[in-house]
Subunit: 326 residues, 2 copies
């Protein structure tokens, strides 16, 4: 049970996050208002994170806030949308102190500024169980132009942004509480990629009209490519050695080759995975040149119904069943 | 931890609820799409209900589904909005059987039809703690016309729809597990008012351009009138005896006069509480005549900063601090 005093305390700490959007009605009303320009659609997504299911016990509140907001923004990026607002639902244990909530609000404030979004509403409840926090994020996209999962066709190239695999290696380091022989900077790079993924908003928005299908990598490359394949009614082949790796990931995998499969199967990167038809390769080249984000071709869409990851000998690497909650 | 098998099971049971809105993308994509006509704003609200905090242990899943959807729709009603879609977040204990989820989905299906809304997205997580379910509801309102809380001015009349007080009496009967001398039909009426409140959507939409401020009664008359007063910078007087009572409530209060204060202070009715300026009384009369919902004047807005509930002798009835979670 949250008493009214607690509600007011939470609202007071969150209200400054709503100051930048008049549609929030300063969090004082029953609901929030959203303006829409002609020719736009609204895109809406929601993700909830539960303590010890979706994040490690003891995660600093600012990190949790950043990750929660970013995973939601990543879903908007995968649709080609420009985010502008979000609602926040908190289910907090009664004994949680003000410090925690203040750190959480600071984390949101920092990322609001970074990604040009504002809090416009939400709900605060208390729980005797696990802490959980959820965001519903809202974006805008040109009408009828949103990137979906069902447009991949045989012959389209398969691309990823950035260096997938970093995040799951970072999670591995966090769980093991050791650096596996890595330098501290390299270990921090990898754990940072897990804790604060970068939603590929600019790339996503620029892929509107260029990509035939898109998704963000949350469950792992195989699982998420499988979503595109099943929605589009196609199969895919990806050559594992074409997957780009960051320098810290390379070092960690040289020192610990047994983690190679972990890196391939892991999720939580929030990089974009998308397909492009041949006639749009030139448009993609412009995005690659201008966005400052690595974009790598890793395979191709083929007829069939199951994505396959191949080694350099052309043999399928199986058992990459994708990410499960830890 | 929810494994992928459980996710798929939940999605499969919920997917039929998304069939009526193409913007749901059949729950297969990263996010949902919303169309907006020129001259409209989107209205968005979210409410979460936690087991034993917001509903009694053992509440049937269909009743819970109905109440969750209705309290969210009620927030849209209070803004004058027409609902069209919602997102659903479930945090379910791992040992919950299929029967529960099937009952929950049936409850949603029934009310989707009743209120012309569709599921367009959501998230499913599992919890080792209390079951909780949340909805983010979306509506449309003519641009710039949403009912807010800040327009009440001295001299405006204060009105309620229906018969507030029923729900808290129904909750009292449910908690006590006896009828306090009431006939079964009357007891069922009151418990039904608690379990399945009626969002006053038509009245809310018709109050656009008529009401100067509006809210739905969730916390209790005093608390919710207080929200209007603080947002509008005014005070209010309400005469307790003017509050309309249902016949079953009258009977229960005759048999148990000690519950009178409970009825006055209680929330959970989801009736509308609103204010109207003198020049709009004629418009209100038309709504009253055409909507088939009782609308009763219970007091007036005055200068000051605190709402007061008076008895027939003009003495303040204090201590009506509004509803707290049980």
């Amino acid at each position: 049970m949250t008493n009214l005093g607690e509600f007011e305390r939470i609202e007071q700490m969150l209200r400054p996050l709503a100051a930048g959007d008049p549609g929030s009605l300063n969090l004082m009303d029953d609901a929030a208002l959203i303006d829409v320009e002609p020719g736009q659609q609204i895109v809406v997504t929601t993700d909830t994170m539960v303590d010890t299911v979706h994040f490690l016990a003891g995660t600093p509140p600012g990190s949790l806030a950043a990750k929660l907001l970013r995973v939601n923004l990543s879903d908007l990026a995968a649709m080609g949308a420009r985010p502008f607002a979000y609602l926040l639902t908190t289910a907090l244990p009664r004994n949680l102190g003000d410090d925690w909530l203040a750190g959480f609000a600071r984390g949101l404030a920092d990322d609001q500024e970074r990604f040009s979004v504002h809090l416009i509403g939400g709900d605060s409840v208390s729980t005797s169980g696990q802490l959980s926090v959820g965001i519903t994020a809202l974006g805008r996209v040109p009408s009828g132009q949103a990137l979906c999962r069902d447009g991949a066709r045989s012959g389209h190239g398969i691309y990823v942004t950035g260096t997938p695999g970093d995040a799951v290696l970072g999670l591995h380091l966090l769980r093991q509480k050791r650096t596996h022989g890595l330098l501290v900077d390299d270990a921090e790079y990898l754990t940072g990629r897990y804790q604060r993924p970068t939603p590929r908003l600019e790339v996503g928005q620029r892929l509107v009209g260029i990509a035939s299908a898109a998704i963000d990598i949350s469950d792992g490359l195989v699982g998420d490519l499988g979503h595109i394949c099943s929605a589009s009614g196609v199969a895919a082949t990806v050559v594992a050695s074409r997957l780009p790796q960051s320098k810290p990931a390379q070092k960690l995998l040289e020192l610990n080759p047994e983690l190679t499969r972990t890196a391939l199967a892991g999720g939580d990167d929030y990089e974009l995975l998308f397909t492009v038809a041949g006639q749009n390769e030139a448009g993609l080249a412009a995005i690659r040149a201008e966005c400052g984000v690595p974009i790598t071709r890793i395979g191709a869409i083929i007829a069939g119904d199951t994505p396959r990851i191949l080694d350099d000998a052309g043999q399928e690497i199986d058992g990459l069943t994708g990410w499960r909650h830890f």
